[in-house]
């Protein structure tokens, strides 16, 4: 049995098994001619992007594109990394140029949909969710069984308030009940539709499925804190814009006071304080792992 794997083989393996950190360690061992290989830059860009360093991923992808400007994977990663670093317009331009080269790629259409959906978010609505939905539908048309395309479609439906969101997320869960991303989406959809308890359960399940993801762990802790009895009266905030309610509540306090409704004003004020206390408590619990 000889030493079979070079660092590129190892890095690809680690990337596929969801360990971009280990892939980066393997890539650090690459020397010589392999540094000129676009596969090295593709793996490096993807690993950096997956490891949560989109700016470095953009640089790596751009270096790789210097060797092969039409590389499918590099264009795809570059667009996603640009999106991750907040450069939405650049991301859109990159993915659309990639689509000109590879119009039949379901993955590219799915990522295009994701980028369009991000551009459609408030406050600078650069495009509409309709275009994002159309791109997701195109991805599904090209590859009806694509997990990525189905997930993107469900995500767009969830963030845009589409009434089909629940059906889409249920479809995702039926395909893979152990998909943490499906549980997160399902939780968000349920919470937005008023079924906050079920939403929190989905968030907890997502955290259970992948506690190594710090975002999911935080979501899980937050959900657990919100399930406590003392947080029940403010659960309704989970389906509305919470910050707006807490600030808007001051108007109620002031209005009742101006109307000389002392008792009502005192109750409104007490509830306002209570909301803030719970908010601060829950956020602290979510940030900090219990000891």
């Amino acid at each position: 049995m000889d030493a079979a794997a070079g660092p590129l083989v190892r890095a690809r393996h680690d990337l596929l098994r969801g360990r971009p950190d280990r892939a980066l360690v393997a890539l650090d061992q690459v020397t010589g001619a392999e540094l000129e290989d676009e596969e090295f830059w593709l793996l490096r860009a993807a690993a950096l992007h997956n490891a949560g360093d989109p700016k470095a991923a953009v640089e790596a992808a751009q270096k790789g594109l210097e060797h092969d400007p039409a590389d499918f994977g590099l264009l795809d990663v570059l667009a996603l990394a640009q999106l991750g670093s907040g450069r939405k317009k650049d991301a859109r331009a990159t993915i659309e140029s990639a689509l000109l080269l590879y119009p039949e790629s379901a993955d590219l259409h799915a990522h295009h949909a994701l980028i369009l959906a991000s551009c459609a978010e408030r406050p600078f609505r650069l495009t509409s969710y309709k275009k994002a939905r159309a791109a997701a539908d195109e991805a599904i048309r090209l590859e009806p069984d694509s997990d990525l395309a189905l997930r993107v479609r469900a995500k767009i439906a969830a963030i845009s308030g589409d009434s089909r969101a629940q059906a889409y997320t249920e479809e995702l869960l039926a395909r893979d009940p152990e998909s943490e991303s499906a549980h997160v989406l399902s939780g968000a959809v349920r919470a937005n539709r008023g079924d906050v308890h079920a939403g929190l359960e989905h968030f907890l399940e997502a955290a259970r499925l992948d506690p190594s993801d710090p975002h999911l762990a935080r979501l899980g802790r937050r959900s657990r804190a919100l399930q406590r009895w003392y947080a029940q009266p403010v659960l309704f905030l989970e389906r509305v814009t919470r910050g707006h309610v807490r600030i808007g509540w001051v108007v109620i306090v002031l209005a009742t006071r101006a109307a000389h409704l002392a008792v009502l004003s005192a109750l409104a004020f007490a509830f306002w304080i209570y909301m803030w206390v719970i908010h601060i408590h829950v956020e602290r619990r979510a940030r900090k792992a219990p000891r």
């Binding site: 049995m1 000889d2 030493a3 079979a4 794997a5 083989v9 190892r10 393996h13 680690d14 596929l16 098994r17 969801g18 360990r19 280990r22 152990e178 907890l204 955290a207 259970r208 499925l209 992948d210 506690p211 190594s212 710090p214 762990a217 899980g220 802790r221 792992a289 219990p290 000891r291």
Partner: protein, 419 residues
Amino acid sequence: MTVDRVAGLRAALVAAPDNHAVRLMLAEELMSGGRPGEALAEYDVLHEAGQLDEHGLVAGGRAALAAGRHDRAQAFVDAATATGSVNGISELKREIDETLGLQHLVQVVKQGVGEDGAPLPPELELDSKPAVSFADVGGLDDVKKAINRTIILPFQRTDLYEKYKRGAGGGVLLFGPPGCGKTLLARATAGECGLPFSNVRIEEILDPYFGVSESNLHDAFVQARRFAPCVLFVDELDAIAFARRKFTGNVGRPLVDQLLQELDAIGADNENVLVLAATNAPWDVDEAMKRPGRFDRIVFVPPPDPPARERILALHLAGRPSEDVDVAKIARRTPLFSGADLRALVERAVDLVIDDALERGEERPLATRDLEQALDGMRPSTLEWIATARNYVEFANQGGRYDEVAAFLVSREAREWKS
């Protein structure tokens, strides 16, 4: 030793021959006085009376060795091993071997490649590295005891295990933060058992061509079975037996299936093949691997505790010019530091001394203050692992799989750092 004292103890024994405490004192006195033959006679009496604990058995072994009675020394070692004792035995065994003129070596299973590129038949080669034993692993006494009970004894007390129809071999998974001695423990386990040791690393298994990785893995098991009894060590198990659920694409899945087949010994016999594995990320290991019959014994290897850190620091300081280094103080100030972190700490301190020597032209020995200065700003590398482990304990410990980790996380040491 004074002759009077020995004479006094002998007189006391004449008066009360069953006073085992006095006999033990006499044996120790004789041994320290350079009369191992007479000491051995006393140890033999105590042993026959069943009055020697594990330390006494090791002391008896040393007396026998010093008296040139290797057969008796081996008998004491066997008796101490049977008690489940860990400390001191391997050193004694090594001394016996050395005295007999045998260089104790780790056996490593190796397979070369012929000129035409075809693999040559596997051969058992002797590695030039001296054997590693538990004595070379600082601290981790609980882990050593667990390994001794579950792994080493079945190989050493085959009679007992055969009587109860309990076969040796099987799979043991060591997990814990990086740099805390999992690989060293695996080698030491092989050293303690005196078995050939075959190290399977992901780099040696992975191949870009379809089906070759699985074939490489199969070959590793074939070799191990050929040289059974032997220890097959799979380093970074999570890289080979990754959770299939997390894998994107289908290319890597056959590798996990292959490992499952090898562990289940489909079409083969894994009797007397001890499969040891180590991983930093047990949560990334496919669930199927942890079922009974595969890696059914899972052992947590925590970061070293203060006494272990003292030993590790002393090990790294040995041979370097140093002056009254308060190792215990540094050990107290380095909670959660891994063995690798401690090595880095010593090296940083040495760099400070060298800088000093270059600046002032004065080559002074390493002192406690250098280590303290080097410690400033250093954080244990285990913190990230602990943060992740905390999340798993909190959200994914329904089956109690991470109970040992949970117990460690509530320890004072683990709470010293905010991870």
